[in-house]
Symmetry: C2
Subunit: 348 residues, 2 copies
DNA sequence: GGCTGGCACTCAGTACAATTGAGTGCTAAC
DNA sequence: GTTAGCACTCAATTGTACTGAGTGCCAGCC
């Protein structure tokens, strides 16, 4: 199934060139070494001599699909070469043992959403040997089931909101005036009446009075609604960041990649950006962050009832095993969707 | 201030040997190279020739403080050598710019406890160039300010408990029987009456009736109390894991260390173990995990009103800058204690 | 007795040349 | 259009010699 969402639509190559390109990419992914004409000639079974392959490779290099580290070496794929390869990849299927592993995991996993996502990221990383990213759904569309104001002391209140998807937000308020137990309880009561059943996106009619209760309520609602526009609502779980050390050579690259992974907002942005561009694979420069120019990222959205509910992703070197990675990410995203979506038959 | 809590009390060395050992350690920390007799003779100002230094070094090597990578190289410290060095280190003071940075940070930081701790870990890591660990307090001693049961649907309830320290725990219940709104609300009311003002350690008199409300209440209390014994209550924030790539050479080491850092429970265990052994520095094998045998860990407890409230730590190579690291960890732990402890004059 | 200068010795690291071999580009013949 | 043949390139490997930092030991000195 050719996926054709690439930004620079690669002019289609004739059959032989395509075969050669794919052979080069496949072998380089496997061996991490430059690939020579002779091994292509023998492995890819076009009945053709190395010399012929060579002249085709020259042409592939001219067109920007391949590159040569130095004159007397084989070819390695460029980002464009990988892109062609990925676009013309038929989607693979997950190996049976991995399918079992997945099924097992989701059959037995318990606990809060966060824990499940966290563990999923570890699992996905173990399955693929790449670093895994799991984005939790934003609660933009979940309705509020409870909103409560807890009086910690005279000028510290904690706003705790519970959503229909089981997520909980807390936020502290520090009003300038003193708040006694009664005021807080009354504000809490009003908040509940005001917010239950709404989403973070619904407009809410806040009281315009000037008493302390009304001020508290206004403050709480504002805090809550202010939360959404920032990407803050998204949770990211990163599993197997130690894989970075295996995937890349050169301390400096490892450091750069790790330090990107530390910035969770950046990771969220990256994945969401890919999703919004309709990309399921970003290769090298396509990723959009210079320090990640030797990386490839595979993402798969998680969709529940047609609505986006998160995503899973994998980060590896450009010479990553795309087929496996895409299969794994896809399978995990489906399992997640089923796990959290068809929650009706949840504990069978 | 000699710190003498080391497990194998090092027999004291005579003044000259001590000076030499310290010079070797200091220089090796600085240069990462084996240190030769001549540079010690010229840098440490004991008016003595390299030859004399050499014979002392032989004896230091015999006693296990130094080691030689190969015959014709200088000496590097063993774990025991570092231990002696650390034990005889006078506690340093933080540099003025760093003190300012810290003061600035804590003067301006806002937001939830978790956010502050998270940011603190990043800050500490930036200050030292090592990986920082910040352990959040357990809420074992905080009293419950609110306990609420939210009815997500007929057999999914969410237990949300708010503690006096502003932390929130959530946990889902999946009773086998159907729960309607009223039952849930009643259980919630009873829970509140039962739990408010208690800590997770206080015994609680649960209702022994057999109706659904009582069952829910029992279930909720059990879930809540079951939580503590696991280290689950501790939160860890790890900042600057990318520093690992700089601190160690050898991909394999980097991978091992990173994969340890991924296991948060393990990190918590490690730090708490050190604290309980009264250690503020663990060197190499003292750390207690084989994969960390080339690491050193510096910890400083955070104490609020005399009670342990968390800890901060730094992880680096055995040749880490102990004085700086200890000073930074100490300063940060004190700032944290002041920030969360003397909360009275909080927003000045 | 402790310190030191002198000396022979060791050995990682470096530098350099020679060799190897994988792989290329080109061309002439099929 | 394909291919065999060939000269060429150049990273990687091997071998050799050299350097120099550092050692251990010892005889003489204070």
């Amino acid at each position: 199934m050719a996926r054709r969402a690439n930004p620079t639509p690669s002019t289609d190559l004739d059959a032989r060139k395509a075969t050669i390109l794919e052979a080069v990419v496949a072998e380089h992914i496997d061996t991490a070494q430059p690939v020579g004409s002779s091994s292509v000639a023998s492995n890819a079974d076009l009945g053709v001599s190395p010399a012929t392959v060579r002249s085709e490779m020259v042409s592939l290099e001219r067109e920007g699909y391949l590159a040569q580290p130095h004159t007397s070496a084989g070819r390695i794929p460029t980002d464009k070469g990988y892109r062609y390869f990925v676009d013309h990849l038929q989607s693979g299927v997950l190996g049976a043992p991995q399918q079992h592993q997945l099924a097992d995991f989701f059959a037995n996993v318990r606990g809060e959403v966060e824990d499940v996502l966290e563990q999923t990221s570890t699992l996905l990383s173990q399955m693929t040997n790449y670093t895994a990213m799991v984005l939790g759904a934003t609660h933009a569309h979940a309705t509020i089931m409870s909103a409560q104001l807890v009086n910690l002391d005279a000028h510290h209140q904690l706003l705790v909101a519970v959503f229909s998807d089981g997520s909980v937000i807390k936020h502290s308020l520090n009003p300038v005036f003193d708040v006694d137990y009664e005021t807080c309880a009354e504000a809490s009561r009003q908040l509940n009446a005001l917010l239950i059943g709404t989403t973070l996106e619904s407009p809410v009619q806040v009281p315009s009075r000037h008493d302390h209760v009304a001020q508290l309520v206004r403050d709480a609602v504002a805090t809550l609604h202010a939360q959404e526009p920032t990407v803050d609502g998204e949770q990211v779980f990163i599993g197997g960041s130690s894989r970075v050390a295996e995937s890349f050579e050169g301390v400096e690259t490892v450091r750069k990649v790790l330090s990107i992974l530390e910035q969770e907002l950046l990771v969220v942005g990256l994945v969401q950006d890919m999703l919004s561009r309709g990309l399921s694979v970003a290769i090298g420069s396509e990723v959009g962050y210079e320090p990640l120019s030797t990386c490839a990222v595979v993402v798969a959205p998680v969709t529940i009832d047609g609505a986006p509910a998160g995503a899973v992703g994998l980060l590896g070197p450009t010479r990553m095993k795309y087929q496996e990675a895409m299969a794994a990410a896809g399978a995990v995203s489906q399992h997640l969707a089923r796990h959290f979506g068809g929650d009706e038959d949840h504990d069978h």
